[in-house]
Amino acid sequence: MSATPATPSASEEAREWSGHTLEVRDLQVSVADGLVAVRDVSFAIRRGESVGLVGESGSGKTLTCRAVLGLLPATGHVDAGRIVLGDGDDAVELTGARRSTWDRVRATRIGAVFQDPASYLNPSLTVGHQLAEQLRTKRGLSRGEAHDRAVELFAEVGLHDPAGVFHQYPHQLSGGMLQRVLIAIAVSCDPELLIADEATTALDVVIQAEILALLRRLRDTHGLSLLLVTHDLAVVAESCDRILVMYGGQVVESGPTDEVLRNPRHPYTQALMGVATIGDWGRRRLDVIPGQPPAAGAQMPGCRFAPRCALATPDCTAGPVPVVDLGAGRTSRCLLADQLGDRAGDGAGSQSGHQPGRHPGRHVAHLDDQAVPA
């Protein structure tokens, strides 16, 4: 798998598309004092599918996946919507779930890894002990079985000398090794869904590429569904079948990754393309998206991107902007979605992929052109 990172669709046909691993409907999450930070978010993840959730910091990515994990901060609250894990007989409603339900579901059905692996491990226990403990309590393995399985898992996530690593303490391992340990723990009980929230952001590019390849491999071998949260479009481009673009607490565009990146149909996605890593070492220009995203809970009658959108019209701010179904699994929350992008080119031609510099256009400004807000 890792040899063909650019084409997650290559193995698509072989994969079963039956059923959803996760379905989120009309989710609304509020933080401190009822500020609505995530609003009207709906998406589904199919079995074996990897979905990328992208957006600027503060766009609601982390709150969305923390709601799915039942790990909202103390002031956070799910106000409305449904979160359903699995389908058919296995379906579990997670909204308002009791503690016992969470205990049953976490680790065994949903695993998670975050940006700062060290803070999720106990510094005074060996990493092997921590993985074995999970296998014993959640899987009912004996001490000996748990040890052997832990060593196997460490090997599977690419740790050299897995038997040696078993006896090491977190501080003795590098950030990349710790992230592998966390992934081993996260997948140890064969969950259906793995959520990775900025799990590679703090790592150097070589390790980042290795961890992403590992996640793709686990998806293929374990049939895992992946929810990959990142602010880096390039990471999604290389690893995800579908993409969800979040802005100001809402999903503003979604669809198959290749299509969305080749031909974005929301001005914010276009702007993100302009600041993304395009692998052009000769580019002597760093674009920024002018303006600031809305604060969590900001009351805006219309499109939340309007203050930063070059295409905004009075209609855009008059009332709520609905999600438009564009067909072929694509949606956009923009009144002009029908006029954006090259519709004729959808699916046909354009083999060359993205032209560097084609997307930024007028939606992105160089620092020289803009007044820096305080």
């Binding site: 040899a3 590019v205 290795e210 880096d232 481009a237 890593t277 692998g279 002597r284 620092l367 305080a374």
Partner: protein, 369 residues
């Protein structure tokens, strides 16, 4: 390696200009043969053994941005710490504006540090900025330490510095770090760093905690500051793409050594060291262009182990390792590009040994326009 053959690159006149002419500018910072060891070297062992930094040469000129990349623990921060005098070199020299600052001890070293001529900026402003201080107090603090200006002048300088980084002083002076966004906080760190009007700015992962848009905003700001203040800037970063957008030159660190350095575009487009090639091949990109894959640049899992003491620092991972690699190669000027140096015995020929199905690596002719 002889330090006299170090080739100087004139700083780029601005974005887009090729940083290639060999016009000699007087470097502000000139590091030669620098080694730093956190544990005292044991008697009779090679000096480089266990060194956090070994035999590093690096020049930075006023108005120039030099990027530093490399894996964790490779000595990047150690170079920054040595330059500001937080750790003493075990060998080598650090010349700042012609004076050897590496040899300063005790009071002289402290005085140099307090003068604020070299400033450090760190990754996470939430951790490095005291949460109890207001923006005004934070930006003012280095001026109080340097104690060079009158009260009034300091107040004036605080306002100027905030304006320099694009913040409205009125709006932010009384705020505390938590009341600012990530991008704003990093701009406050920059205002704080430039308040003493340093001549050299050392930024350690200044943007890795920021999203791409804010990342670019802060980097653009550094680009502007180097022009406005004729600053020499060193930026440690792991995002090659961002760095490529503003740095003139890049130095690639691996296990305490600078394994490659040169004009950034040429280095990234056509790496001379196998580790640099692995870095560029691993960088995520929205465009899936024809390029080397990381797998082509890794050694087989069962590759022989190499002598840790003398051998090339990259030999344990290098697919091109051969007998000669039992000795660490010195950093040498590339025959086809005098502005570049790499520390690999086969810098000019390893490409020929790539697996035959390899796409051709992009070559230098692309950028000579």
């Amino acid at each position: 390696m002889s330090s006299t053959q170090e080739i100087r690159i004139a700083p780029a006149a601005g974005p887009g200009s090729p940083a290639g002419s060999a016009e000699a500018a007087q470097p502000l910072l000139s590091v030669r043969g620098l080694s730093v060891s956190y544990a005292p070297p044991r008697k009779g062992t090679h000096l480089g053994t266990g060194a956090a930094l070994a035999d590093a040469d690096l020049d930075v000129s006023p108005g120039e941005i030099v990027g530093i990349v490399g894996e964790t623990g490779s000595g990047k921060t150690t170079l920054a710490r040595a330059t500001v005098g937080l750790v003493a070199p075990a060998a080598g020299t650090i010349a700042f504006a012609g004076d050897d600052i590496g040899g300063l001890r005790g009071r002289a070293r402290r005085d140099f540090r307090r003068s604020g001529q070299v400033q450090l900026v760190f990754q996470d402003p939430l951790r490095s900025l005291d949460p109890d201080l207001t923006v005004a107090e934070l930006v003012r603090e280095p001026l109080d330490i340097a104690a060079a200006l009158s009260r009034r002048e300091r107040d004036q300088r605080v306002v100027e510095s905030l304006q320099l980084v694009g913040l409205d002083p009125e709006a932010v002076l009384d705020r505390r770090p938590r009341q600012l966004s990530g991008g704003q906080r990093q701009r406050v760190s920059l205002a704080r760093a430039v308040s003493t009007r340093p001549r050299l700015l050392f930024c350690d992962e200044p943007v890795s905690a920021l999203d791409v848009s804010n990342r670019n905003l802060v980097l653009n700001l550094l680009d502007q500051l180097r022009t406005d203040l004729d600053l020499a800037v060193v930026i440690i970063a792991h995002d090659l793409s961002s760095l490529a957008g503003i740095a003139d030159r890049v130095a690639v660190f691996y296990r305490g050594r600078i394994v490659e350095q040169g004009p950034i575009r040429r280095v990234l487009e056509d790496p001379a060291h196998p580790y640099t090639a692995l870095l560029t091949a691993s960088a995520p990109s929205v465009v899936q262009e024809d390029r080397l894959r990381p797998e082509q640049l890794k050694s087989a899992a069962d590759a022989p182990t190499w002598p840790a003491e003398r051998g090339c620092v990259f030999a344990h991972r290098c697919p091109f390792a051969h007998d000669a690699c039992a000795d660490q190669p010195p950093a040498q000027t590339l025959p086809h590009d005098p502005a570049r140096r790499a520390a690999c015995h086969v810098a000019a020929t390893w490409r020929d040994r790539l697996a035959p199905d390899a796409p051709h690596a992009p070559h230098a002719h692309k950028e000579s326009a």
